[in-house]
């Protein structure tokens, strides 16, 4: 260990940019054993493991880094999967530079450990070697309904199944995965990876009901009668609005619809309404991870030009730096300190241009308050606009009907055990936090499962 002076930080190889923009395959090749070990071996094994501290799941990062370095892949696999419901996914989608790698002692001067890639390696390698997750089947007569198969739902299901509690999962779409499937493009997260996890859970006793929307196909009241507990992991998918003139015009899309459509095309679903960006100019408005997903999706869909408009600068972008870099590599243009004022349409009601205005920051602070620069309007011609301004909560009717308490942002209120005001009904993930990181949904699922197990099994 501590070989950071000898070995530099090396990120996994990315596929050639000209090749990779032609499809939705993952751009990273992933570590092989040699590079994973060499990278893990750089770890300082700090007395205060800042990476562990920076991880919402409190993953035992230094421990499994040492195990990888020492070639004990089996133990690393166990330890990594102990605290995380799907480490191979988290390794791909977490903004590590904001979390573990950002906190890594080596980050400032020597280059952080490539924690995420090693995390992915551990579980992928484990699956390859046939290591199993040791589910021991359903060992109780308790059963829990999980509404939604996104990260929170999958997480809660994982930990409930580990506790031997049966789980029935209800998903309104035709594929499981929620945000993991629809919200994160394949070039970041291969869908096979998601479905593999679902399969594992099914083998462990999960019963998955697709195309089953609670409140439509399934009655919430029935669920309450049938199950010992219900977990709501229904996400927050209502896009935030820009509240500008023209935002409802044709050719103006919300990020989730845009990404979903692309994904559905990839999955060759029957009911698709493709969004055609071929040879078009696409403007994506927003600076978060979702915005990056949109711009890069647009590139892959054959857009002529993709521009990202953001009202702060690169440092102020809330998402992962890695994704910003990838986007630039893939030819995306960025226009910082720019905010939309109005969308102008043509006679068919299609968006034809956006009026942009310049912004500046108070106090030079990259996350400081934004001020519009008066008189800086400029009209920019575009073909398609995608808004990626974050998400809010659309409450399903049954939540309101059952008087489950929500807050001013329509987010479901839970106690420290993730239980809502309606006894036996739990919630986690974006529907309680608002749009947030996958890792936090995974955390909610894990902690809620613990609380449910404690309640049901004592």
């Amino acid at each position: 260990m501590q070989s950071f002076l000898k070995n530099d930080r090396v990120e996994p190889k990315k596929k050639n940019v000209l090749q990779r923009i032609k499809n939705f395959e993952e751009i990273y090749e992933g570590f092989d054993e040699h590079s994973a070990r060499a990278q893990a071996d750089r770890c300082v094994q700090c007395g205060i493991p800042y990476c562990h501290n920076g991880c919402p799941l409190d993953n035992y990062i230094p421990q499994w880094l040492k195990l990888v370095s020492g070639k004990d892949f089996k133990l690393a696999f166990k330890m990594s999967n102990e605290s995380s419901p799907f480490p191979e996914i988290m390794g791909r989608v977490c903004p590590q530079d904001k979390l573990c790698e950002g906190a890594c002692t080596l980050n400032s001067a020597f280059g952080a450990i490539t924690i995420g890639s090693i995390e992915t390696f551990i579980t992928e390698e484990g699956f390859k070697n046939g290591f199993n997750l040791g589910f021991q089947g359903i060992r109780t007569d308790k059963k829990v309904a999980v509404v939604g198969s996104g990260p929170a739902g999958l997480s809660v299901a994982t930990f409930l199944l580990r506790a031997g509690i049966g789980v029935d999962m209800y998903e309104k779409e035709a594929f499981a995965g929620g945000l993991l499937t629809w919200g994160i493009p394949g070039f970041k997260l291969n869908k096979e990876t998601v479905f593999k996890r679902v399969e594992i859970l099914k083998n462990a006793g999960l019963e998955l009901y697709l195309n089953s929307e609670v409140g439509k196909e399934i009655d919430f009241g029935e669920l309450r009668k049938k199950y010992d507990a219900i977990f709501l992991g229904i996400g927050a998918r209502r896009s935030n609005r820009a509240n500008i003139v023209g935002e409802d015009s044709k050719n103006v899309y919300q990020a989730m619809d845009f990404l979903g459509a692309a994904q559905k095309k990839e999955l060759k679903l029957d009911r698709i309404e493709p969004i055609d960006v071929q040879d078009k100019i696409v403007a994506v408005i927003g600076g978060g991870d979702t915005a990056m997903d949109c711009v890069r999706t647009a590139v892959r869909e054959g857009a002529k030009k993709v521009i990202c408009y953001y009202r702060r600068d690169a440092d102020g972008m809330p998402g992962s730096k890695k994704e910003y870099k990838n986007a630039i590599e893939e030819g995306v243009e960025f226009s910082f300190f720019t905010a939309p004022k109005e969308i102008l349409t043509d006679s068919n009601g299609r968006a034809r241009s956006v009026v942009m205005q310049k912004t500046k920051l108070e106090n030079q602070n990259s996350r400081g308050k934004i001020v519009i620069v008066e008189g800086s309007e400029e009209e920019i011609k575009i073909d398609i606009v995608v808004f990626a301004l974050g998400f809010g909560m659309d409450l399903p009717a049954f939540v309101t009907a059952e008087k489950i308490k929500t807050d001013e942002w329509n987010q479901i209120v839970v106690d420290k055990n993730y239980e809502t005001t309606l006894g036996g009904v739990y919630a986690g993930g974006d529907c309680f936090r608002g749009a947030n990181l996958v890792v936090n949904a995974a955390l909610d699922g894990r902690e809620a499962a613990k609380a449910i197990a404690m309640k049901l099994l004592g």
Partner: protein, 1478 residues
């Protein structure tokens, strides 16, 4: 001891001293012997101590052969005619009626009191403290009453005395100093110079003795106790018995199996208890020895049974002698510790040295049949022409005189006699079983797997962290893992996490009054040899006594366990009833306390009724409905119950336990009475680790061996830090502090331990076990993929054990010094102060009856800064950048930075980067006259918070050219700091070092750094009496250095405990105003500092915290040289990343000072001075958890001054001798062209000669000093200790005569030449530990020297004609030539420099410790350069000393060169530099 009250702890004592014996070998009594003995005693006064009244002293005394003529005469004058056979008791009476008790008990024992004489005294000789306690001193003359009594006269005297003592035991003042027909003791609380004046008897010319033992005491406390003066009835002792608590326990156990040829069983009962209560260690040893002797035990064997020479691991020891020791070890364990003891039974006189030679003992035999043994040479003026022999005892040696036949018996004579007196070898062959003989190493069992491994791991708290950080490293390296940056977790009792019972114990360690041992470099003295079987009658020597099963370690492997069990299993072929074993499960379902009692009752019954002799405690039966009682509790409780039932001597206890996973937990079980341990869960875990990685049988065997070995090494370290060499002397000692366990638990289960902050009781412990049990056995389904707890004890882990340095705290600290924003400090402060019941101080809140005042009224921050220091961190342990930043910061604000020990570059000494505090530690690296002279404070580090009682190492790869230069060593060569200061084995040695330092730098304050532990108060009082100016109490929280994990975690107490104790102990002893107190260890906020002030500290040091300010992120990788922040590293690439600045440190110090001011204002006080020691400002927190604990000992306060009131603690000895010489030489110093020659007579009273002169020169010229021979001093006589200490270039000292210990210690330049009249190898010419830490200069001695010659030499050139043991230990540079015999263990830990040894008898190789060095011949062509170099040195030696030996070698150099060995380190990278050392 468990429930020791504050006052008992505060008024405890340790004593050390000067001692000796003088005898006429032909047993001819004379008054001269009496007078000379007194004179000798007077001349060692500097080895004793003087009380605050300047006159009382700590006691001195003499034991004389019975002055028959004088006594008869005295009786006659009272008209009493004494018969041929009579005895005289010398008694301290406190009440008149005691005389009658005395008389009547004599009568009951067939003795007749014929005369009671009031001893004439002159009380003007006494100091006021002594006078206040003056007993009524009488002599009682006794004669036998019948014929039987005549035959058994001495036996009856002893019996009578024991009965009288028992009858009057309620009176602490009553004391019989001696009661014998052969000897008499005159002693008291009187200074040696006044003893003759006090006891008028001693002036009578009729008072004639043929021999005398004499003793001058240095006690750590000042509360006069007449009876503690020495000699005792059979001995006088200089040193300290470290194993005393085990020895005392064992003495009780042994007494159960006594059969005496002298006494009936009924009489023996009347004699018991054997050891008098409330006595010193020496007095207990005296009790034991006296008992053996009076029962007819052979004089020499008795002495060697109690203080054996090292034999277990001493190669080349005579086999028959080894047999004697091995045989004896079945009945006796060593009374272990530094000891020079003179003993007598009236016929023989003996003097003996402990196994490691830690005390000086020197002897002279004269032509007029006298033998003088003393701590020092020169205590009597004996013309050299009268001397036949001048020698010294080496480690473990004994010398004796048979007065009956008028013969001196040397060590070899005594050994010869002992080993052939009985057929020990035969006995051993017949009766003793060595387990190893039955083990087939090639086929050793690998059957270590167990059922329910995980369940047991969960119950016994085997976390992943433990496996990763403790067990796995042991498997891989065969030794314990190392960590750094101290321990920031709460003590076990305050933790919210489960902590095993063993975690509640903190190991005791040696500091000041006794030295730790280096278990690696001096492993020759260490032994873990363990035996099973009954302790037989110790008073007789029979073959049966050898009946033992033995093994070399108390940690058994499976094969060994099975072999042991087979001897006690009636179904086995080799069954013997005396090894019959019985298994006892420690399982229980509920009611821990009563279950424990039931188990103990059951065990005792089985021992008594069924004859079980090996008790096997087994905690493997963990089940859903069964928990295991903590093994440590079971062992400890049982040990007490067995003793109370009188069956302890019959049994050995073996623990089959999951509780043991490291050396600390092993030590706890052994310390509380376990004979051996089979750590099945540790082995099973080891098996699992190796097996899961695909290891085969061979790998498993190797892993088990490594794990066992690492515990062995750890145990040796734990023993050695307490200065104990053998496990037998450690077992039953209870050498721990128990923090936060209830007095009830400690009293019942943990005999010997100090209960501190009494707290959790059985029910609390049981509640914790229940949680743990539930976790282990619950089926609540949390089917974990990785089932163990992750742990968080060694490193931070989210929601696990609390760490004071959490990520949030580190971030907050670094942010606040970056922004220098008060809000950020507030945030940090609230984080720390809000930690809620983690540290002792958290339970104490401030309260004040005064009204708050305006902040403006409070003293300015500048005054507060003066009290701030940074803790010692050497350049080497931290980078130059970090070291200088700290110095600069502290100098800027007017505080002090601490150099640590590792030198400081001369360029820095005159700038604002000069560390005002210069440290002197056991390595003496870079300790030069210039370094010392540049200090405002010189700090002697006696122990270090992270690892008290241990040494350290700076690995070669960290020794950069800069560091090597500052430390006067060679780059790349590993540097070892020994565990002890080799010039401090006792308190008077510390006094000597302080004296040395006060000479070389008379303006500096001398501070002494101690580590908090129960009993540190006593030590502090002793240090104050040794003339220190300041005492630092370091807490266990602190400590940045690298250390074994078990040391970081389990040695040393929180500073609150030690500080409060030291503060009060100083007050009780009227010494508080002589010294100031400082504390360190985890201080972070103003509140911490204020609390420290209230508990008695006047100044405050910051260690870890200061580093965090400079960017340290508590990575705990300091020992790996990989500090990413460029602090604890010498690696250039990492140092480039250093972001610390002096400003950051200043920002922090300012925040804290302002915080303190605010708190003072809120309390209504204007300055820190006003609150120091004012414990009424603290109240115990009022909540349920806090109420479990008793903090009264922390808040305890006795009356008296709270602060230092003296400008300096001036030594008694003003050193006028050298002051005068400095005056004479001042011209030469100022104008070096005026060379000067000075001539003087010198005596042993003139100590540290050369230091004052060197200091004066260093003040002006730094380490460069003056040109050679600028000041030439010719001395005649016998020099006192530390001749030539810290000598500097320009001074040459020629001594015609000889010298004592520490010659040329810390020498930097100049020259010392010692040439006695009686010269050559046969005659000792200087004492122990010469050239310790020398950095240059030359020393030529025409004679032999004592132990540890040239220890840690790093630059001096020296020629001597013979040495004692351990020569050239830890040497790192320089050249040593020895023209005669050396002792054993030559070159241990020697990593640099070279030595030439002349070895005509071809014995040297056996004495070499070949671990790091090799010896090679130099009579080859390729060694020509070396040969010529040696020749030059020899010529110089001849020129300076006229050595016959040098001359004869030079005259026949071609031939003689064949007999030389060149000794050099194996790993020496630098080419041999012939000029090195010049």
């Amino acid at each position: 001891m468990a429930l020791m009250t504050n006052m008992e702890l505060l008024t405890g004592y340790r004593d050390n001293c000067g001692f000796g014996a003088l005898a006429n070998i032909k047993n001819i009594p004379s008054h001269n012997i009496v007078e000379d003995a007194i004179k000798s005693l007077e001349r060692m006064m500097h080895r004793g101590a003087i009380a605050a009244d300047g006159k009382s002293g700590d006691g001195s005394g003499l034991l004389f052969s019975l002055p028959v003529e004088f006594l008869k005469n005295e009786a006659k004058e009272a008209n009493v005619d004494l018969p041929e056979l009579f005895a005289v008791a010398m008694v301290f009476f406190s009440k008149e009626e005691q005389v009658e008790v005395f008389k009547s008990l004599c009568e009951q024992n067939d003795l007749n009191v014929v005369f009671v004489r009031k001893v004439p005294l002159d009380t003007k000789a006494l100091g006021s403290l002594a006078l206040g306690k003056l007993p009524d001193i009488k002599q009682v003359y006794v004669v036998p009453n019948s014929l039987i009594a005549t035959k058994k006269f001495d036996a009856m005297l002893y019996l009578a005395r024991k009965e009288i003592e028992k009858a009057l035991s309620a009176d602490d003042e009553f004391y019989i100093t001696s009661f014998s027909s052969k000897v008499i003791v005159y002693k008291g609380l009187v200074m040696p110079t006044h003893i003759k004046e006090f006891y008028k008897d001693l002036n009578s010319k009729k008072f004639k003795a043929s021999f005398a033992l004499f003793h001058q005491r240095f006690s750590t406390n000042t509360l006069p106790k007449w009876r503690l003066a020495q000699p005792f009835r059979t001995l006088a002792h200089n040193g300290e018995i470290n194993s005393i608590s085990a020895n005392r326990y064992n003495a009780i156990a042994k007494c159960e199996s006594l059969l005496s040829e002298v006494y009936t069983q009924e009489e023996l009962r009347r004699i018991m208890p054997l050891l008098q209560a409330n006595n010193s260690d020496s007095a207990s040893l005296d009790n034991m020895l006296e008992f053996l002797l009076i029962n007819g035990f052979d004089f020499f064997k008795a002495v060697r049974a109690l203080i054996p020479a090292p034999w277990q691991n001493a190669p080349h020891l005579d086999a028959k002698l080894r047999a004697f020791y091995e045989y004896t070890s079945a009945c006796f364990e060593a009374w272990d510790g530094p000891a020079a003891v003179t003993v007598t039974n009236g016929r023989y006189i003996g003097c003996i040295l402990d196994r490691n030679g830690l005390r000086p003992s020197k002897y002279i035999i004269t032509k007029d049949d006298r033998i003088l043994i003393a701590s020092e040479y020169g205590v009597l003026d004996i013309d050299e022409s009268q001397i036949i022999e001048r020698g010294r005892l080496q480690s473990g040696q004994m010398i004796g005189v048979d007065l009956k036949f008028g013969k001196v018996l040397k060590n070899d004579d005594i050994n010869e006699y002992i080993k052939s007196s009985k057929p020990y070898s035969e006995w051993l062959t017949k009766h003793m079983v060595h387990i190893q003989e039955f083990v087939d190493s090639a086929k050793e069992s690998v059957d270590y797997a167990i059922q329910n491994l995980v369940q047991k791991q969960l119950y016994f708290n085997y976390t992943y962290e433990l496996i990763d950080m403790v067990i796995r490293p042991s498997i891989e390296d065969g030794k314990e893992n190392t960590g750094s940056m101290g321990d920031d977790t709460p003590v076990a009792a305050f933790s919210k996490e489960f902590r095993p019972i063993c975690d509640f114990f903190k190991q005791k360690f040696a500091q000041v009054t006794n030295p730790p041992i280096d278990p690696l470099r001096e492993k020759i003295v260490m032994s873990l040899n363990t035996g099973f079987g009954e302790t037989h009658n110790i008073l007789t020597e029979t073959g049966e006594n050898a009946k033992r099963i033995k093994t070399h370690s108390p940690i058994l492997t499976k094969d060994k366990l099975e072999i042991l069990l087979s001897f006690g299993d009636s179904k086995s072929a080799q069954y013997e009833a005396c090894y019959k074993n019985g298994f006892f499960s420690t399982g229980f379902s509920s009611e821990l306390e009563s279950s424990l009692e039931e188990l103990c009752v059951k065990v005792v019954q089985t021992v008594k009724k069924d004859g079980v002799r090996i008790i096997i405690l087994d905690d493997r039966n963990l089940a859903t409905d069964e928990k295991a009682m903590p093994m440590a509790m079971v062992v400890g409780r049982l040990n007490k119950v067995l003793l109370e039932n009188g069956v302890r001597h019959l049994v050995s206890t073996l623990c089959i336990t999951g509780e043991v996973y490291d050396s600390h937990s092993s030590a706890v079980l052994l310390g509380f009475g376990a004979q051996a341990i089979f750590p099945y869960l540790l082995y099973a875990t080891t098996y699992d680790i190796v097996e899961s990685k695909g290891g085969d049988e061979h790998d498993i065997r190797a892993a088990i061996k490594n794990v066992q070995h690492s515990i062995d090494l750890g145990l040796q370290k734990i023993l050695s830090k307490m200065g104990i060499a053998t496990i037998a002397s450690y077992r039953n000692s209870g050498l721990f502090d128990a923090i936060g366990l209830s007095g009830n638990i400690v009293d019942k289960c943990f005999v010997g331990a100090h209960a501190m902050v009494s707290g959790l009781d059985f029910a609390d412990i049981e509640a914790k076990l229940n949680i743990q049990h539930k976790k282990a056995v619950s089926k609540d389904g949390s089917n974990k993929i990785f089932p163990l707890e992750i742990g968080g004890f060694y490193k931070y882990s989210y929601e696990k054990e609390f760490h004071d340095y959490s990520p949030a705290v580190v971030y907050a600290m670094q942010k606040m010094v970056e922004t220098n924003n008060k809000e950020d400090y507030e945030h940090f402060k609230n984080l720390v102060n809000g930690r809620d019941g983690k540290m002792i101080r958290d339970f104490l809140t401030l309260k004040s009856s005064q009204k708050p005042i305006a902040i403006e009224q409070v003293e300015p921050k500048e005054k507060i800064f003066k009290r701030f220091a940074t803790a010692a961190m050497s350049l080497g342990s931290i980078s130059p950048e970090a070291h200088e930043a700290l110095a600069k910061a502290m100098n800027t604000i007017g505080g002090m930075s601490n150099s640590g020990e590792g030198g400081e570059s001369p360029e820095r000494l005159k700038t604002d980067c000069n560390s005002k505090i210069k440290q002197v530690a056991s390595g003496r690296f870079g300790v030069t006259p210039g370094y010392l002279r540049s200090a405002v404070e010189i700090q002697i580090k006696l122990a270090q918070g992270a690892k008290p009682g241990e040494g350290g190492q700076l690995p070669g790869h960290k020794v950069t050219p800069l560091i090597a230069k500052l430390r006067f060593t060679v780059p790349g060569v590993t540097l070892i700091s020994p565990p002890p200061h080799h010039d401090i084995y006792s308190i008077e040695d510390l006094a000597q070092l302080i004296f040395d330092l006060k000479q070389v730098n008379p303006t500096a304050k001398i501070s002494v750094k101690l580590v908090s532990t129960a009993g540190v108060g006593t030590i502090a009082a002793g240090v104050a009496k040794a003339y220190a100016d300041k005492i630092i109490i370091s807490g266990s929280e602190g400590g940045t250095g690298a250390a074994p994990l078990t040391s970081i975690k389990f040695a040393g107490n929180p500073w609150e405990l030690g500080l409060s104790e030291a503060h009060n102990a100083l007050k009780v002893n009227h010494l508080r105003d002589f010294v100031s107190l400082e504390t360190d260890g985890g201080l972070k906020t103003g509140l911490d500092v204020v609390k420290a002030a209230i508990l008695g500290a006047e100044s405050y040091a910051f260690g870890t915290g200061a580093l965090v300010l400079l960017g340290c992120k508590i990575l705990r990788v300091c020992h790996l040289n990989k500090c990413t922040e460029g602090i604890a590293t010498q690696e250039e690439a990492l140092r480039d990343n250093f972001h610390g600045t002096a400003e950051k440190v200043i920002n922090y110090m300012t925040f804290i000072a302002e915080d303190i001011r605010e708190i003072l204002a809120s309390l209504g006080y204007k300055s820190l001075d006003e609150i120091i020691g004012k414990t009424e400002l603290l109240a115990t927190l009022d909540n349920e958890f806090a109420k479990k604990f008793d903090f009264s000992s922390v808040l305890f306060s006795v009356d008296g001054p709270n602060k230092c009131a003296k400008p300096s603690n001036e030594p008694f000895d003003k050193n006028e001798f050298e002051k005068e010489i400095v005056e004479e030489a001042i011209g030469a110093i100022r104008n070096p062209a005026n060379k000067i020659v000075i001539e003087r007579d010198i005596t042993n009273l003139n100590r540290s000669f050369g230091a004052r002169l060197s200091g004066e020169i260093a003040k002006i010229y730094g380490d460069d000093g003056l040109a050679e021979d600028t000041i030439k001093i010719k001395l005649r006589g016998i020099a006192g200790q530390s001749l030539g200490v810290f000598l500097i270039n320009g001074i040459s000292i020629y001594l015609s005569g000889y010298a004592n210990d520490y010659v040329c210690k810390g020498m930097h330049g100049g020259k010392v030449v010692i040439s006695p009249k009686l010269k050559g190898e046969e005659f000792a010419a200087a004492g122990n530990t010469c050239l310790y830490g020398a950095t240059g200069g030359e020393l030529f001695i025409n004679g032999s020297v004592g132990e540890r010659f040239a220890v840690r030499n790093s630059g001096a050139l020296s020629v001597v004609e013979g040495t004692g043991d351990h020569a050239c230990e830890y040497m790192t540079r320089g050249t040593v030539v020895i023209l005669g015999k050396t002792g054993i263990n030559f070159g241990a830990g020697m990593t640099g420099g070279i030595a030439f040894v002349y070895d005509k008898d071809k014995e040297f190789i056996d004495r070499l410790n070949g671990e790091l060095v090799l010896a090679k011949r130099i009579d080859t062509d390729e060694s020509d350069e070396v040969m010529q170099h040696l020749k030059k040195i020899l010529k110089k030696h001849y020129t300076e000393t006229k050595s016959d030996k040098a001359l004869s070698i030079l005259n026949n150099f071609r031939e003689e060169i064949r007999y030389f060995w060149l000794v050099m380190p194996k790993a020496m990278k630098a080419p041999l530099n012939p000029r090195e050392g010049n």
